[in-house]
């Protein structure tokens, strides 16, 4: 009886996901342009948040470098955009981010988590200063113009990256590496002594997550016709995914998606109505979430569900 319930739950989720996917894939055909653009923004944050959660969720190593990898993707797109076709540009953006993450990982992930947090926190500011200096002293220009691409193309590209990311995240989570990542988060020393090459697992997963952030950056760059270091390396992009993941809940894959979707919509809403207050509101939500929602929204819902079903069983 229980097995049948498990199977139908899984095929239900699968069916639902496929349906949503089809709806999303066809939406430029029937939805207004505003919705498509909003969905693109949601995809952007979902990709960054899910990528972030893929590494920082199970291991507990809080990366504050999302903006750095996203920004690297943006800049790669800006530099190569005129010379190469877009799909190649996206690959390059992802690869450069991947390599940067390998470097950062190799430097910091051999050591205690605090060094990782500190190093990733400053990375955004570092890249900002470096590229500013480069533009002032070497290339002589500040900022770059990015060749534009149609909104629908951007939408579909983001959708594709989203799907690839979800598949990757799912495969990792349910493979032995997912187990290894969890073990690192709970008892890293014991994991190392059980045969897990902890440094390698951490660095590779971190680099894979950066890969997707770079891809998202490379695509989104085409939405802003002009980018400069301050636009590309925006600390808010490091902050929001963390907030979204915590709020949504990091236990399941759907948590970051829900959190990202809610907050992207919230950001759009707040930026138009209360442009001077949205940082404040997000900051307050972050503090509240850390204090009162340790398992996020999904965790809260799971707890409620458990309580309801326990009550049901108590009645029978």
């Amino acid at each position: 009886m229980g097995i049948v319930r498990v199977i139908s739950k899984r095929s239900f989720v699968l069916g639902l996901s496929l349906l949503i996917l089809i709806l999303l894939a066809t939406s430029p055909l029937y939805a207004p342009l505003y919705t498509v653009i909003l969905l693109t923004s949601i995809f952007m944050y979902v990709i960054i948040t899910v990528s972030w959660t893929m590494f920082s969720g199970p291991t507990g190593y809080i990366s504050l470098a999302s903006a750095a990898f996203f920004g690297v993707g943006i800049y790669t797109s800006a530099i190569l955009g005129k010379a190469l076709p877009l799909p190649l540009v996206i690959c390059m953006g992802s690869l450069v981010s991947f390599c940067l993450a390998l470097l950062v990982g190799a430097l910091t992930l051999r050591l205690r988590g605090i060094y990782f947090v500190m190093f990733t926190f400053g990375l955004v500011e570092l890249l900002l200063h470096f590229i500013l200096w480069w533009e002032v002293n070497i290339t002589g220009t500040t900022g770059r113009v990015v060749p534009t691409v149609s909104n629908t193309t951007v939408y579909y590209l983001m959708l594709i990256i989203f799907v690839i990311l979800m598949l990757t995240a799912y495969l990792i989570k349910h493979s032995k590496y997912g187990l290894a990542l969890q073990s690192i988060g709970q008892e890293e020393d014991a994991a190392a002594h059980t045969g897990v090459n902890v440094t390698m697992v951490k660095v590779m997963t971190f680099a894979i997550s950066a890969f997707f952030m770079g891809a998202a950056g490379a695509i989104m760059a085409t939405r802003w016709t002009y980018i400069d270091p301050r636009i590309a390396f925006n600390p808010l992009i490091s902050f929001l995914p963390v907030l979204m993941a915590i709020f949504g809940g990091m236990g399941q894959l759907c948590g970051p998606i829900i959190g990202a979707a809610i907050f992207t919509y919230l950001e759009e809403f707040l930026i138009t109505r209360f442009p001077y207050y949205y940082m404040l509101i997000f900051g307050i939500i972050m503090v509240v979430a850390i204090l009162y929602m340790p398992d996020g929204l999904v965790g809260l819902i799971q707890k409620l569900w458990k309580r309801i079903s326990e009550r049901k069983h108590a009645d029978t």
Binding site: S183, D189, A192, T194, G195
Partner: protein, 245 residues
């Protein structure tokens, strides 16, 4: 050739020598007890063997190969497994997954996922934890958590097993079960080194005992020899040690 040998192994913490120019041998298939007052350097020695710490000087050889300076995961895959003084199970993971991690990563070359799962189930059967295979590790009793650590270590196919105070905190019934488990592990041909304060366990399970004090070896011999050694008695009466029997 001894399965494990150390020469001149030294480790300092600040100005203090935790392990001081230690030479030791472990013969294949034996059960070696490692005793000594608190702070004698026993766990530090385990940490040096398993590469949780790097020695200041000296070499450690496993099956003739120099393992000093290797990373812990490599040493594990070569066939050395251990448990920890403070239990380090993966608290939020089910018991089965704790052990499967070992069969996935601790064996070289790796097992397929179905083989790994089968092996993990077998090991749980062997240690007697099959009934709780789906329970999160944090919900187990201390005795069971210690058994889980042993199971996880066994999943990595070790030839040498380092047990760090697995009898501590157990009631008499649990103690008897633990001693019986150690005997069954030995029957599989696995060499064991065990740190213990519970003297009854050490004396009955081990053929040879090494006594450390202030990081140096002060005595080595059969349980009988150690129990009657004046030096050892002085050391233990001088410090208030726990004598389990």
């Amino acid at each position: 050739m001894p399965i494990l040998e150390g020469k001149g192994v030294t480790k300092h913490f600040g100005g203090l020598a935790a392990v001081s120019n230690l030479d030791f041998n472990v013969e294949q298939g034996e059960a070696l007890g490692l005793i000594g007052p608190n702070g004698a350097g026993k766990t530090t020695l385990f940490n040096l063997i398993s590469a949780a710490l790097v020695p200041k000087s000296g070499t450690i050889r496993f099956k003739g190969k120099n393992i000093t300076g290797l990373k812990p995961y490599k040493i594990c895959r070569m066939g050395v497994a251990r448990t920890f003084q403070t239990v380090k199970v993966f608290a939020n993971m089910p018991v089965l997954n704790n052990v499967t991690l070992g069969s996935y990563f601790g064996i070289s070359p790796g097992l397929s996922s179905s083989d790994a799962a089968v092996k993990a189930s077998e090991i749980l059967e062997f240690v007697g934890l099959s009934e709780v295979k789906a329970t999160p590790a944090k919900d187990l009793t201390l005795a069971n958590q210690k058994r889980l650590e042993v199971a996880r270590a066994l999943a990595t196919n070790p030839e040498l097993l380092l047990l760090d105070e697995i009898m501590a905190g157990l009631n008499p019934a649990e103690l008897a079960q633990a001693m019986e488990l150690v005997t069954r592990i030995r029957e599989k041909g696995i060499t064991i080194v065990m740190i213990e304060h519970v003297m009854k366990a050490i004396m009955s399970v081990c053929q040879r005992i090494m006594v450390l004090h202030h990081g140096a070896k002060i005595a080595e011999g059969t349980p009988q020899e150690i129990a009657t050694s004046k030096k050892v008695i002085e050391v233990y009466l001088g410090e208030k040690a726990h004598a389990g029997s």
